[in-house]
């Protein structure tokens, strides 16, 4: 489980450690270079904490020029580099390598410019996602993508992973909400794609970089679009007596022309788990719970809520509540946001999967997962971003039981393969990283992967930037781990996980 193939270690680099550290110390302030065992420990893993690896050294540059000099040096000396933002990624994208420098962007933590006239914020990549909203909310603006880790995750990491969130159906993911990036290539070249204006001309290199998981360049500045906060936000909490009726209602809401700001589904196992955990007051007799959030002007939201109500009643909902205050709206979300810790309280360990499926295939997917749960004799709870088809099954198991662990891995892998079979994909928002690397061939054939590798080669010829991530090393569909949380000890226990 914690064994995973990584690129071949270059022992000549390990032997030159002190010389490399010395050189790095000349390229940035000496205290920005960490090389002692106790200094390196906090950087051994990201939020996929089942995999750990001590890097050769950690370097924490302070500006773009330093990043450029460091990469130029590593490029000429054939030293691998693993970039890292806040380290909250769930797929192991920032897992260090023994013979690589870990390039931390933590010191890039300043917002550089707030430009209300052009509706954008120019920021360094280490600023947190929520930090951007905090900087502009007093003027009634916000930054739309809202990954569950938004309190801690950095905007640079969001660019690397193309992070989404609950509201991505209506407002898009990171790629739809950024206007420009400044980036340093592995050979040290500083480049700028986009700016404050829409749709850069020529190849959309910003679009290529967004979601490239740190394999193509190191982002040192991001220009994000900011939006005006909606006048009103209201939510509906609806229980259904069967998965099919709830799933149909969710599909019908979409096909009726409503684009909710957020739409979440929880199955019975999760309703009970979260209600026990957070006392959210969920309807415990329901087989499926639907939360629909709408935003806009007052009459617009009221009108849409009426439509949602009618659709849910038509599909035989067993309960329906509409939020009448901000407090009530947040209470609807309380259980949903506690989904992960609630599962953690039910079993020593859980795996969080992250697949996407067509919305209409929800009932089929849940049924399949139920069958697999019986086959593997492991309980599972499901939450689903019904708006955009992103499914997060949570498999509960005991990691101390090796047989259970093996079965969990198989179970998880079968779920993701089911997602692909139903017309979906193996990762909706957590990224491939090392976690789902070997499942890439479930989705892509040799030509597809070769094309992507050619792009990588064209921009990082020596394959020094974050090697071993995203693309299979052994080119076989092995079955690897998912987000593994032991004894509810998530690396970031304070972050809600959706």
């Amino acid at each position: 489980m914690s064994e995973i193939a990584l690129p071949k270690i270059d022992s000549s680099i390990l032997n030159r450690k002190s010389e490399i550290v010395k050189k790095l110390s000349k390229l940035t302030n000496i205290e920005n270079v960490l090389s002692e065992a106790d200094e390196l420990r906090p950087y051994e893993t990201d939020a996929l904490s089942v995999y750990t690896q001590t890097p050769l050294a950690v370097v924490l540059p302070e500006n773009t020029e330093e990043v450029s000099e460091i990469l130029k040096f590593c490029h000429s000396e054939n030293i691998k580099v693993v970039p890292r933002g806040a380290g909250t990624g769930l797929s192991g994208g920032a897992l260090p390598l023994q013979d690589a420098i870990l390039l931390g962007l933590g010191k890039f933590n300043k917002i550089l410019e707030i430009d209300y006239e052009n509706k954008c914020v120019v920021t360094q990549p280490g600023v947190t996602n929520l930090g951007i909203t905090h900087a502009v909310q007093h003027k009634g603006f916000y930054y739309a993508p809202d990954p569950s880790s938004q309190l801690a995750c950095s905007i640079g990491g969001n660019v690397a992973e193309n992070s989404g969130g609950v509201h991505s159906l209506k407002y898009g993911t990171t790629t739809n909400n950024i206007l420009g990036v400044q980036m340093v290539m592995m050979d040290g070249t500083i480049c700028r794609f986009g700016g404050k204006s829409f749709d850069q001309e020529g190849y959309d290199l910003m679009g290529l970089i967004c979601g490239s998981e740190g394999l193509l360049g190191v982002v040192t500045e991001v220009t994000v679009k900011i939006l005006k906060t909606p006048e009103v936000v209201r939510a509906a909490l609806i229980g259904f007596p069967s998965i099919k009726e709830g799933g149909d209602a969710a599909s019908e809401i979409i096909s009726s022309g409503i684009v909710p700001a957020g739409m979440e589904i929880m199955d019975k196992a999760l309703i009970e788990a979260t209600d026990n955990f957070s006392k959210a007051g969920y309807p415990r007799d329901a087989e499926l719970l639907l939360i629909v959030e709408l935003d806009g002007t007052v009459s617009e939201v009221n009108e849409l809520l009426k439509k949602v109500e009618a659709i849910c009643k038509k599909n035989n909902c067993s309960s329906l509540k509409l939020s009448n205050s901000e407090k009530e709206r947040l209470s609807f979300w309380a259980g949903r946001k506690a989904a992960f810790p609630a599962c953690g309280a039910m079993a020593p360990d859980y795996y969080c999967m992250d697949g996407s499926i067509p919305r209409g295939k929800l009932a089929e997917a849940l049924l399949e997962i139920k069958k697999l749960s019986e086959k593997y004799e492991l309980p599972v709870a499901n939450c689903f971003h019904a708006g955009d088809g992103n499914l997060h099954p949570l498999i509960m198991f005991d990691g101390n039981d090796k047989e259970q662990l093996r079965k969990t891995e198989e179970f998880g892998s079968e779920i993701l393969k089911t997602c692909v079979r139903l017309g979906g994909v193996i990762t909706g928002e957590h990224g491939v990283g090392i976690e789902k690397r070997e499942l890439m061939c479930e989705m892509f054939n040799d030509n597809d992967i070769q094309q992507q590798l050619s792009i990588k080669k064209s921009l990082d010829e020596k394959n020094l930037l974050n090697p071993g991530k995203v693309y299979p090393i052994l080119r076989k569909c092995a079955e690897e781990g998912r987000v593994h949380v032991h004894k509810n000890k998530d690396k970031f226990p304070d972050l809600p996980r959706f």
């Binding site: 006239e117 006048e231 617009e300 088809g389 909706g428 892509f444």
Partner: protein, 426 residues
């Protein structure tokens, strides 16, 4: 330049020696053969936008126009999967039957080319990535592409993306393909996100007195919680009689004074919320009923069609420029353009369509410098017959050009697909 080469295959060729592969396999076979023989090809669809971009430096022409038809349309999943050269009109028709649409509001370039509608194919449109008036609210064409299949310059069939909106599996090549002018892959299949049509729309007309006021209005409109889905500024331009007459006739509506400068903004939604938003905006913009006029849905819809057909520049024989800048610099640009060039402003102050009535390219050079200084770019969409391409029609800096060359190399190492269409050497 290589001469025409006889391809050893059964792929149909017409009397002009244009290849018409009928499916993905034939596209792959053809390009593989051209790759072996180092013989580049121009890639065309229905030829509606082939005038945009440089002239391709190639001996062959491949038309993908036979690769057409809807593969899979799932209204409830909000996507449509089509063969690449499906006409946009056909897609719009089938979406309309389900009260859905392509939210990026495709521009109809047929009017500037030949004075009549010709929206062309979705592959052509994606290859240009030029979204219409709703762009600043809903994103560009690239934001509505969920996935594609196509053939790279080696003849390999490749795919990226899928049919779901949340997908971070591998590099997002759909973005890269958008706006690549057919220089990376010959598209064979495209999956698009579709959205519900709004119940209704209304357009409010304001008659501003100076450029500062225009941009003050634009700024307030884009800062409001009462979302708008279109905002244009149409200047008076009375010094150019021909343009003045044309503009007045294009925007001849009962409730619009088209012989003076005006801003038009669109509000969409259900009827109640449209009224609510317009009332909110009137307060925020401090407008009295006497200052404005309103186009009801029957005038509003054709109004925006005319904007997106670029009808004021119908059959233009001059250079037509598309310039995008951050809106904060817009009033400065308006001042420069006033009575120098015919133009109008879209995207709530960001997008300028400018007609450069000049045989000399110096003016385009000046405008390009201005675009760059303002933090934007320009593209010469249509060139006059005298244009000698001394000034490049796209805007690119040295570093991006080098990276673009590398990306091109990774898809099309022998420069088989549309060489030179965008930049020399790419």
């Amino acid at each position: 330049m290589s001469t025409k080469i006889k391809i050893n295959s059964q792929i149909f060729q017409d009397s002009n020696n244009i290849y018409y592969p009928k499916d993905e396999t034939e596209v792959s076979d053809l390009i593989r053969e051209l790759y072996k023989q180092d013989s580049p090809t121009e890639i065309i669809g229905n030829n509606s936008k082939s005038f945009i971009g440089n002239k391709t430096q190639s001996a062959n022409t491949t038309s993908l126009s036979k690769i057409s038809g809807i593969i899979d349309y799932r209204p409830e999943e909000l996507y449509i999967k089509v063969k690449a050269c499906t006409p946009i009109k056909e897609i719009e028709q089938v979406l309309s039957e389900n009260n859905q649409e392509l939210a990026f509001e495709p521009i109809d370039f047929g009017y500037i080319k030949e004075g009549k509608s010709n929206k062309g194919t979705i592959a052509g449109y994606l290859s240009c990535n030029y979204a219409g008036s709703r762009r600043f609210k809903v994103g560009s064409v690239r934001d509505h592409v969920l996935g594609f299949k196509g053939v790279n310059g080696k003849g390999d069939i490749i795919k990226s993306g899928g049919t779901v909106v949340k997908n971070v599996t591998g590099y997002d090549l759909s973005k890269l393909i958008a706006g690549s002018f057919g220089t990376l892959v010959a598209l064979t299949e495209i999956t698009l996100k579709v959205l519900p049509k709004k119940d209704s729309s209304k357009t409010v007309i304001i008659y501003p007195s100076n450029f500062e006021q225009i941009y003050d209005f634009f700024n307030k409109l884009s800062s409001s919680s009462s979302e708008i889905s279109g905002a244009v500024f149409i200047p008076e331009q009375s010094k150019d009689k021909d343009f003045f007459t044309k503009k007045n006739s294009v925007f001849k509506f009962n409730d619009l004074k088209s012989n003076v400068s005006f801003i038009a903004f669109r509000v969409e939604g259900d009827k109640i919320s449209i009224e609510e938003k317009i009332n909110n905006l009137k307060k925020e913009l401090e407008l009295n009923n006497s200052d404005i006029s309103t186009l009801d849905v029957y005038q509003s819809e054709p109004f925006w069609k005319k904007v997106n057909n670029l009808e004021v520049f119908e059959k233009t024989e001059h250079n037509l420029i598309r310039m995008v800048i951050p809106p904060a610099n817009g009033s400065k640009l308006c001042k420069h353009l006033e009575n120098n060039h015919n133009y109008f402003v879209d995207w709530c102050g960001s997008l300028f369509w400018i007609e450069v009535n000049s045989k000399k390219e110096d003016k385009i050079k000046d405008l390009k410098k201005m675009a760059k200084d303002f933090g934007g770019y320009l593209t010469v969409i249509k060139t006059s017959s005298e244009y000698d391409y001394g000034e490049a029609i796209f805007t690119v800096d040295k570093v991006r050009l080098i990276i673009s060359e590398k990306v091109k190399q990774s898809f099309d190492p022998k420069r088989i697909l549309n060489p030179g269409k965008m930049y020399r050497g790419i």
